[in-house]
Symmetry: C2
Subunit: 340 residues, 2 copies
């Protein structure tokens, strides 16, 4: 029986039962259900008393007098912090994750996508990913390559293995000589710096070195900035699974949810707000944003060999299956860092 873990206090068992039942059914949980389905050897009246107390203490709520109980944010919090089984993962899931993560990738963004897809596939929750904070992402090398007489490609390599490339087209021919100059100057100025937009001062600084090449350099900076900015792109998977959850059966709730996911800026902020922990859980109103107060978010900083690959976030209803989600994340984290 999965809650015979450490608990002797019946009230905690009741709380756990209510929460797990509610996570499964999305319906208020009655005292009778707990007795029947969770094998507690007490009468429903006894459980009712416990539930009344748990409500008093703020762990449970009642939608209305004649309904069963649902967990409060405080209840979920206790569950997540103390009651939750973080190895709730099946053999099939383990097998699936292993297979997925073994896919050979050459770009770290692909790895992030695979990880995100895997999490979403297993949990069925909407899953978003963003790249690592650019500040930790130092430029290792910049290469300019002539793709044709009038077309240049700029490739930026970073210390943690990310690669950005962008194309610049010109109305006039560019010589290999010029390209060599660009390679030298840009590397000279930017190598070792964090991967972030090239600001005005830096632009001036570069131009001061090659003041005769303004026409060549201006479009480069424009395009490079565009490419860098695109690094903030968020990757989203499984958003349409909202429809699987009864709390989104009202069309407006679903719409609202999807529109939140659509606003890149909000998502960035949410994902970036994660604390130092690898895994952070924000339940309902614990989220600062008004629009998220009915949702829960679990964020997960994934790393490989100490290199931060960005943050992956799962967004779902408050009755999210925290146990499963956290188990999956922990397992993936372990797996990602155990490979040679």
């Amino acid at each position: 029986m999965r809650w015979n873990i450490l608990l002797n206090d019946r009230k905690k068992q009741v709380l756990q039962a209510v929460i797990e039942e509610y996570i499964n059914t999305a319906e208020p949980v009655s005292s009778a259900t707990i007795v029947e389905k969770y094998g507690l050897n007490f009468s429903s009246a006894t459980i009712r008393n416990d539930m009344a107390e748990l409500e008093q203490e703020g762990f449970l709520e009642k939608p209305h007098t004649s309904a069963g109980r649902i967990p409060s944010v405080k209840g979920y919090r206790l569950y997540v912090d103390e009651l939750l089984n973080d190895e709730n993962i099946s053999l099939e899931e383990i097998q699936y994750i292993k297979t997925q993560l073994e896919t050979k990738v050459n770009e770290i963004e692909d790895l992030t996508k695979i990880t995100t897809n895997t999490i979403s596939d297993i949990t069925h929750y909407a899953t978003v990913a963003i790249g690592p904070n650019s500040n930790n992402n130092l430029i290792k090398d910049i290469k300019f390559i002539l793709l044709g007489e009038r077309m240049l490609m700029a490739v930026i390599l970073t210390e943690n293995g990310a690669i950005k490339e962008t194309i610049i087209k010109y109305d006039e021919d560019i010589s290999q000589n010029q390209v060599d100059g660009l390679n030298y100057t840009f590397n000279n100025r930017l190598r070792g710096k964090p991967l972030e937009k090239i600001d005005k001062p830096m632009e001036e600084y570069i131009l001061s070195t090659m003041s005769d090449q303004i026409n060549v350099i201006k479009p480069i900076i424009l395009q490079m900035n565009k490419a860098i900015e695109e690094s903030d792109k968020i990757y989203l998977k499984g958003a349409n699974n909202v429809f699987d959850f009864p709390e989104f059966k009202k069309i407006d709730t679903a719409r609202n949810f999807l529109s939140i996911l659509d606003t890149k800026e909000e998502m960035l902020e949410v994902l970036n707000s994660g604390l130092a922990e690898d895994i952070n859980v924000y339940i309902g109103e614990e989220n600062e944003r008004e629009e998220l107060k009915d949702l829960s978010i679990v964020t997960f900083k994934h790393t490989v060999g100490g290199k931060n690959l960005g943050t992956i976030g799962i967004i779902g209803p408050k009755r999210m299956d925290y146990s499963k989600v956290i188990s999956i994340m922990k397992y993936i984290n372990k797996k990602l860092n155990s490979e040679t």
Copy 2:
């Protein structure tokens, strides 16, 4: 009055009025509405007679005895083919399109995105885009570039300006000599050929030239194929606007719609099924796929200077505003091809 175009037959006027009213309101249209809002100088009883005949002839339908009429697929078809105003575009819209299309882009995929976004923004319908059929897309040049001792980048340039690039990582060092060989061989074998997956025979063919380089070439072909395959990626904008249409107010309809858009293969097939025409309209059951029988699709092959840039498709309810959609597409088409 917008239907004084070529019509003298009152029944056609009635049909047009019913369709346009239904497109606007999504409600069955009554005879009285037509008299009041569309200024036909007849009594509602007369219109009623016309409507009865139009129903007899299959152009209109009745949800139930006491309701107004809604257009049938046959009705929409007549409307699209003969009655529709294809210059239904406002000054603001023209202005907006102009501004958008003037954005400077260096990659044609960006132009497709901009065009797609513009169409979706104006029409509020879900809009999907795919790249051009690879057969018309000939390889112009392949470049291999050493990004580090153990990292190679392959760039494929095509005749119509598309650019694919991909990264290949190795466990051992690669010399510039080897890269030169790759450049020579791949161009020798693939230049001028259509951009499509490198098949087994071609792979053998290449390997026969550089049989000592199997370890280098194998991963290249793997990655190049991946990159080429990704060209089929579909770009989607405005899917969440479904929620704006009353026909999708039942959650299952909305869900169904969004899940259709999610299935890449289906979308590819639908968009590629377009006939020779620049603009094709598929109304309701005219679509072959069962899941699309309650939807309409308008596809639009966009070109610049004779070069096919791919197909853009709009998907929406059967009562889609065909007039607006087609007007926008025609205008964009003109605009794309009038620029120097």
